[in-house]
Amino acid sequence: MIIATAVEIADRRAGRLGDKYYAGRARSVMNRNFTAFKSSTWLVVLSGFIEPVLYLFAFGFGLGQFIGDVEVSNNVISYAVFIAPGLLATSAMNGAIYDSTWNVFFKMHESRLYQGMLATSLGPLDVALGEIAWALLRGLIYAIGFVAIVAPLGLIPSWWGILAIPASVLIAFGFAAIGMAITSYISSFQQMGAINLALLPMFLFSGAFYPIEVFPESAQILIKALPLHHGVSLIRGLTLGEIDISLLGHAGYFVIMIALGLFFTTKRLTALFMR
């Protein structure tokens, strides 16, 4: 067998569409992340899905005793059943945002990992896709972990709830794509802090912890414009088995987010990775 050299491998893609951005090796970036993951304290990394579970126990079962049942559309459900999907959507958002903002920012400006990758025959799109794919894989494992814990507790009444797993990956994809696009415009840690600031109201007001109907109509319109509200509604619809056309609308919101995010990320790739 003849072993291909780096030059031969790179030349094979020459002339293809986008060959200056993409070398077709996003998996080598994932391979790097997997190697790093193996040599880290991977149990700690994997335990990420514990956080929403803790929230669920505290609010669902602890505070839930003082709340009793909650009425959603025509269903009367326990408070724990109400917040479980909210917490799943929220943790999908948090993980994706962390990976696509702090993590990318750090690898770009502090450890200069991306400079190393881009000194090779990889293109910027390989790096972006590899990083997003890795974040989504992690999100998928967290979602499976969460569902595996809450389903046996009877908090996912419908079999449609299985679809909450891919739905939370969709949500994570939307936030990761937007997050990476935003990171391309950011140059300092203070600006990074502002991202967290913007996420807090979304976390608190998107209907994860209570129905947004407690707020006046005008505030509700504002909340309904926010992505996390659509994430919560999508997953809640699935876990409760309330399947209707509105779920497609919620999912569509994220499809648009992904498209927009990827468009800007690609457009800003040179700024992101080759400044």
């Binding site: 990394v45 009793g68 007001f205």
Partner: protein, 267 residues
């Protein structure tokens, strides 16, 4: 011209010089700090206090008071804790590892224990600031019932001081693993935050989980806060116990903070 630096002069004020440097550093982010200090209580009270509070049946007052009133002292103490941790963990990691600033400071007559105390004092300055603002927001939301509710400010600061001292020690002790802090925040800080009688009374948990509250400075400070802001009934013995517990944590924390700082600088 000659400038003499008298070690005798530096000695009593060393910690203050370090605190001054830390506070100057914070001032660079003052806009952000002020915004977060005001925004946080506002958002939390509106969301959890009003939003979740609306779900709680009005006959079903928690601890005999509206949910917002019940929650207020816990959020106050928690804000102090979060602020105290922020201003100790990162400066310590930065000072020892990322920027190695402490080694520079230590090459002057300032000692390791003065650096530790200085960082602690600066963190406390931030905590005092944010707790005061938090209290004002609580007041505006009508979440405080007694005329002496301002006394909950010092008890919240007390809790912040306990956590700041413990984190100072831990961060100085940890030399390598950044994941350690992920671990700590996931398996220690977060459970303490959620299960210390913060969002619902400790008694609503099974007895075999209530120990989480007993070992948590947040619970002890929150109990004191509830006593002060809405007159929750607590026996004198328990009041004494809460204060004693917090005092012990604070003293032990500071003791180890000073010790680990000095050791690490001597390495």
């Amino acid at each position: 011209m000659s400038i003499t630096t008298e070690p005798k002069v530096v000695k009593p004020y060393g910690a203050l010089y370090v605190a001054e440097y830390r506070i100057r550093n914070m001032m660079r982010f003052k806009a952000l700090i002020v915004m977060v200090s005001i925004g946080n209580p506002f958002l939390y009270l509106l969301s959890i206090g009003v939003g979740v509070g609306a779900l709680i049946d009005s006959n079903n007052l928690i601890d005999g008071v509206p949910y917002l009133t019940f929650l207020a002292p816990a959020l106050l103490a928690n804000a102090a804790i979060a602020g105290g941790m922020d201003e100790t963990v990162f400066p310590t990691l930065h000072g020892f590892k990322w920027g190695k600033i402490f080694f520079g400071i230590n090459s002057t007559p300032i000692t390791g224990s003065q650096i530790a105390i200085g960082v602690f004092l600066a963190a406390m300055a931030r905590v005092v600031f944010l707790v005061t603002i938090y209290w004002i927001v609580l007041y505006l939301f009508g979440a405080l019932e007694t005329s002496y509710s301002w006394l909950a400010i010092p008890t919240a600061i007390f809790a912040g001081a306990c956590f700041a001292a413990m984190m100072l020690a831990l961060a100085a002790k940890m030399e390598n693993d950044n994941l350690f802090f992920t671990f700590i925040s996931r398996f220690v800080i977060m459970p303490l935050f959620l299960f210390s009688g913060t969002f619902f009374p400790l008694s609503a948990m099974p007895i075999y989980l209530q120990w989480i509250g007993w070992i948590s400075p947040l619970w002890h400070a929150t109990e004191l806060g509830r006593f002060l802001t809405y007159g929750r009934e607590i026996s004198n013995q328990m009041l004494f116990l809460h204060v004693a517990f917090l005092s012990v944590i604070l003293i032990v924390g500071l003791f180890f903070a000073v010790r680990y700082y000095t050791r690490r600088l001597a390495k």
